[in-house]
């Protein structure tokens, strides 16, 4: 139940982000979700797109350093306490969240949150045990 995320190293310079979005646009790639983590010197752009292989290829062609990471897309009840419930489950199971960000589209009436865990398999297991729905990669890219 993993979702593949690509990440791109960016220097903190004007125009770098728009260069990435330009390259993806030109290749006809749709960005499904993104988050940008930054420091004073550099940033890491994390992306979920509809065609990972192609996105990696065109970004590398343009000289970017690109990484691939497995993350988990979790359905979260769209009501007060929805996210809190999931974080409690993870906390009790001793699973650490490295980072998280929201997916643009909803899944039915639920919100979708992308999680990066320190131990992915353990996280997927406890979420399933507690009846939390995890969305598969193919399904997510097509949403």
């Amino acid at each position: 139940m993993r979702v593949e995320q690509i990440s791109v190293f960016l220097e903190n310079k004007a125009g770098r982000l728009s260069e990435v979005t330009g390259i993806l646009a030109e290749a006809g790639i749709n960005i499904r979700a993104l988050s940008l983590a930054d420091t004073s010197d550099f940033g890491i752009l994390r992306l979920i797109v509809n065609d990972n292989a192609k996105a990696v290829e065109v970004l590398k062609q343009h000289g970017f350093t690109v990484g691939k990471t497995d993350v988990v897309a979790v359905e979260v009840d769209d009501r007060p306490g929805g996210l809190h419930r999931i974080l409690q489950i993870l906390y009790r199971a001793n699973v650490n969240v490295e980072y998280m960000y929201a997916f643009v589209q909803q899944s039915g009436n639920n919100a979708v949150i992308i999680f990066r865990f320190d131990s992915l398999d353990e996280a997927v297991k406890v979420l399933a045990e507690n009846g939390v729905k995890v969305i598969a990669g193919e399904q997510l890219y097509a949403m």
């Binding site: 190293f9 220097e11 983590a37 000289g63 350093t65 690109v66 490295e98």
Partner: protein
């Protein structure tokens, strides 16, 4: 293999007798024909007849790059221009270029020494040599070229630049020996990977790399990426060009100096005192067979040490260790001597760091600051900010530990550090003194 079995394996005694005879002849000749040397010897109170042993060489004054500039362009030539068949010049990054000349016999000697060097690095008659050193005023291209022809190998005079075309030619012609600068070798590997060509499918046996300082770790990386034996070659136009010294394939441990043509010394760059074997200092050369441009005790500004130990390859010529820096590249940062090559060693010892780096030195409020820019590669990249920041801290800590100087480390995007197709620019010093 050894190209000139007789001269490359002379006993120390016979070698020194040859050196003394040739040194005496050289001193006699420059005294008679080059006003600069006659004046310098006069000022030092030495006459050619005073050179009775090799040790008497130490009584002669040094020659510096400035002396060559002061006598620009042809003032140091020891023969009439009628006898000069070739002129080379080194790049004049800090003023006028340094001009050197060769007689027909000098070209012949140079070809012989370059043939020796190629053989030491693993080349033989049947090889195809892809020569990507620049052809022109720079001695690299033509120096290798004449040596390759002397050896009877087939030489592809591709020169520098147009990297993609070079890779296609390598694929199609199947060269077995590569000659270029070590940074260009890595550039070739990167460029080949970009167009989907791997070096594992090529026929290269050895690469003979020089014209800029490099490190053992860089050798490992080149050998891994280009699938060949990486051999270090040394030379400078003021002394002859490439082929002054070279590593042997058998030992890959120090560069044999062709002592039947050049006498090496290592000195303390501050005092000029000659240092014992094994001690690190500035390399000094005296040529003892050159006709057009003999040079006496030339201060190369290259930092190394000499090793007289016997070598497994059978050559009796003394070895110099890998050049670890330049006395004039040396940065003094808050009173600490720093050579860019030391930073390179730190990075490469950490394995997972790409060796593309640049040092930027600034002075803020009368305090020197060193920033080391390092390119992030696929092996070092992480999608987590914390891991990249830890990487920066670790590099900074190791620099502090090995060099005793604090540096701010900044990760930058791949290919963002300018690299020329020849020598990489390693240092930007923004300080105003």
């Amino acid at each position: 293999m050894i190209y000139n079995m007789e001269f490359e394996t002379l006993s120390r005694e016979a070698l020194e007798a040859t050196q003394l005879r040739r040194l005496q002849a050289t001193i006699n000749r420059v005294y008679a024909t080059v006003p600069f040397y006659r004046k310098k010897l006069g000022e030092a109170g030495v006459s050619p007849a005073d050179i009775k042993t090799l040790k008497d060489l130490q009584r002669l004054p040094f020659t510096t790059k400035k002396d060559l500039r002061d006598n620009y362009p042809f003032g140091m030539f020891a023969v009439p221009m009628d006898n000069v068949v070739r002129i080379h010049a080194s790049s004049g990054t800090t003023g006028k270029p340094t001009v050197v000349g060769y007689t027909a016999r000098d070209i012949d000697t140079w070809a012989e020494l370059m043939a020796r060097a190629l053989v030491a690095g693993g080349a033989s008659r049947g090889d195809i040599i892809h020569n990507a050193y620049g052809y022109g005023l720079f001695t690299g291209g033509l120096g290798i070229h004449y040596g390759a022809e002397r050896l009877g190998a087939s030489v592809i005079p591709i020169s520098g630049g147009n990297t993609k075309r070079q890779i296609l030619i390598m694929k199609d012609f199947g060269p077995t020996i590569l000659t270029c600068t070590p940074s260009y070798a890595l550039h070739l590997a990167e460029a080949a990977a970009e167009i989907g060509v791997g070096f594992e499918g090529m026929k290269f046996k050895s690469g003979i790399f020089g014209a800029e300082p490099w490190s053992e770790n860089m050798r490992d990386e080149i050998e891994r990426k280009l699938h060949l034996n990486a051999i270090d070659i040394y030379g400078l136009s003021e002394v002859m060009g490439p082929g002054v010294s070279v590593e042997c394939l058998e030992a890959k441990s120090g560069l044999h100096i062709f002592e039947d043509h050049f006498i090496p010394e290592v000195i303390n760059p501050q005092t000029g005192e000659v240092l014992p074997y094994g001690e690190t200092g500035e390399l000094v050369f005296t040529s003892i067979t050159k006709e057009a441009f003999p040079i006496i005790r030339y201060r190369t500004r290259d930092v190394t040490s000499l090793n007289p130990d016997p070598c497994v390859c059978g050559r009796t010529h003394m070895r110099m260790n890998r050049v670890t820096g330049r006395t004039d590249d040396m940065l003094i940062i808050r009173g600490v001597n720093v050579f860019p090559s030391q930073i390179e060693s730190v990075l490469m010892e950490m394995r997972w760091v790409e060796p593309h780096y640049q040092l930027v030195v600034d002075r803020a409020d009368n305090l020197d600051t060193l920033t080391v820019m390092v390119e992030v590669g696929e092996q070092t990249f992480s999608d987590e900010v914390r891991k990249l920041q830890d990487l920066e801290k670790k590099i900074s800590k190791n620099i502090k530990e090995y060099l005793g100087v604090s540096a701010k480390v900044k990760l930058v995007e791949p290919k963002s550090i300018p690299r020329s197709e020849g020598k990489a620019q390693r240092v930007i010093d923004n300080r105003k003194f």
